[in-house]
């Protein structure tokens, strides 16, 4: 699908390089390396607050076709997500790593790099008995976004 602002498109804002690699690894695995052009991962914003601010602004400026996903580190503070979604922007989706990806990788004793962590998340996305997704805060937002994408025949 070509990128067109009048058609369904998704912009993903990430907090840092680690999140960028996790997201890219997830997308590559989920779409079997053929990520649709209507999905764009933007450069890391540097910090959870700027990520959310940029995502909120972009969501407000975009039309009804735009979906915005922000991926942040919660660092143990799940309220960050509540803060972001408090103003009720319907097309804004926020998910977070329960803790910093570096710490998460160590805790999970994940053998690979961040991209392979993203790959594992994609592989376990539809599993119900996965422990990996327990470390992701607000997976429901991602589920809802996925459903929306599916309705638009993106995935």
């Amino acid at each position: 699908m070509a990128s067109n602002k009048f058609q369904w498109h998704l912009r993903i804002f990430v907090e840092d390089d680690a999140n960028r690699q996790i997201v890219n690894g997830f997308l590559e695995s989920f779409f079997r390396r053929n990520i649709p052009r209507c999905i764009r991962v933007l450069p890391p914003s540097g910090g959870w607050r700027p990520t959310l601010e940029e995502a909120q602004r972009d969501c407000a400026e975009g039309g009804s076709s735009r979906r915005v996903l922000a991926v942040i580190d919660c660092d143990g503070d799940a309220n960050r997500i509540c803060t972001a979604t408090a103003n009720g922007q319907a097309n804004l989706y926020v998910v977070g790593c329960g803790e910093e990806p570096e710490k998460l990788r160590q805790r999970l004793q994940h053998p690979g790099h961040f991209s392979t962590l993203g790959d594992s998340l994609a592989r376990e996305y539809f599993l119900t008995n996965t422990s990996l997704w327990l470390h992701i805060v607000n997976k429901e937002a991602l589920d809802s976004l996925m459903q929306d994408a599916q309705n638009q025949h993106v995935c």
């Binding site: 070509a2 690894g25 450069p43």
Partner: protein
């Protein structure tokens, strides 16, 4: 799949070993003069050998350069150190190791082959020292023959077994796609329909003709082009004047309009030509089981917002791909473990062994934000 590349004494690459460890897609970054294009040169020499070129002075010639003695590290005429090229490639569980050593003795005008060797899974197929070639034969004594000093032996060599594994290796070498596109040279005219694709992609239309012969590839090319030009309909190679009996042919792209209209390929912008080339490349790799591509700076003609899409597409090639780049957006499409950094301090010292961003982070040589490290030059030690 290319597993390992070793280059010694070629331009700035001295004792340079690069292990790709099964990476399907990797990126080479480094400041100007760090040796990225020299790696592309080396693979071009191997590609030409696979295509049957045995004159050592003619390697690279089709692409407008040659393997000159000047490429010896520092170009020192009194240097005793030979130039060494080694390549390990795994195809169908066979590991092919090929080694070519070139020296430049006094009173010689061109490089001489000092040593050459091919082995399969560690078992020697043939070895050579200057003019003396020794071919290993199963259950029989080795065959010994003389060969021209300046002539590479591999194009001549053919194993006698039924499945001809060396032929497979030579085909892999010959089919390597190495690109440093020059859109200005892509005129959209067929030149020699049998000629392999040049690094500049100036004869891209010849490639179109060959790919068109496969209906699946032709459909895929259309699909890939439509990702960038949603109104693209088809392409055709025809004379400028449809009714003319004679005259040059050109590549045209047809678009959906109120009336379907055609645009000559020649009129596409540099970036659009690169997109077209990428569509051909994607379609071609689906035809070859073990395709290999190295594209030197695929992003240099593109609008910033298109870079990520093209790189993502190239990362999704069904075979193995290596890209080089200076662009931050390209780097962002690759994971740290597949991004190799070439570091070179000055023009008087060779390039250091390649290390991944992940290795640099582990060694605390890369801290904090990658964008900042690249834009400031910190990543390259500046």
């Amino acid at each position: 799949m290319l597993k390992r590349l070793y280059i010694h004494n070629y331009k700035c690459l001295v004792n340079f070993e690069w292990r790709l460890d099964g990476l399907q897609s990797s990126l080479l970054i480094g400041k100007n003069g760090s040796g990225k294009s020299s790696i592309a040169d080396t693979l071009t020499f191997f590609r030409d050998i696979g295509r049957g070129e045995n004159d050592v002075a003619a390697l690279g010639r089709e692409d407008g350069f040659t393997l000159s003695p000047l490429a010896l590290w520092n170009g020192r005429r009194d240097s005793c150190e030979p130039m060494v090229f080694e390549l390990d490639v795994e195809l169908d569980t066979v590991l092919y190791s090929y080694r070519l050593v070139l020296d430049f003795p006094k009173k010689f005008q061109k490089l001489r082959i000092a040593e050459e060797r091919l082995s399969q899974n560690g078992k020697l197929s043939y070895t050579r020292e200057t003019a003396k070639v020794v071919i290993a034969r199963e259950g029989q004594p080795d065959a010994v023959l003389g060969h021209d000093w300046h002539s590479v032996f591999l194009p001549t060599f053919q194993d006698a077994s039924q499945n001809a594994p060396v032929l497979l290796f030579k085909k892999w070498l010959a089919d390597m796609v190495i690109l440093t596109p020059v859109p200005f040279l892509m005129t959209g005219q067929p030149v020699d329909r049998l000629a392999p694709l040049k690094r500049s992609a100036s004869n891209l239309v010849d490639w179109v003709v060959r790919l068109q012969a496969d209906s699946e590839a032709a459909n895929q090319i259309g699909d890939y082009i439509r990702e960038v030009f949603p109104d693209f309909k088809a392409f055709a190679i025809r004379k400028l004047d449809r009714d003319a009996a004679y005259g040059p042919e050109y590549l045209f792209l047809r678009f959906f309009d109120e009336q379907t209209s055609e645009v000559p390929f020649f009129l596409l912008s540099d970036g659009e030509k690169c997109f077209f080339l990428s569509a051909l490349l994607r379609a071609s790799t689906t035809l070859e089981k073990d395709s290999f591509c190295l594209w030197d700076e695929p992003d240099c003609h593109l609008a910033s917002h298109e870079v990520g899409f093209l790189i993502r597409a190239l990362r999704s090639l069904s075979g193995q791909s290596i890209l080089t780049s200076h662009q931050l957006e390209t780097v962002r499409q690759f994971p740290d473990e597949a991004t190799f950094v070439l570091l070179r301090d000055t023009h008087l010292v060779p390039t250091r062994p390649p290390r991944t961003l992940a290795q640099l982070r582990d060694a605390k040589e890369l801290k904090g934000d990658l964008s900042h490290a690249i834009l400031t030059g910190d990543l390259y030690g500046e």
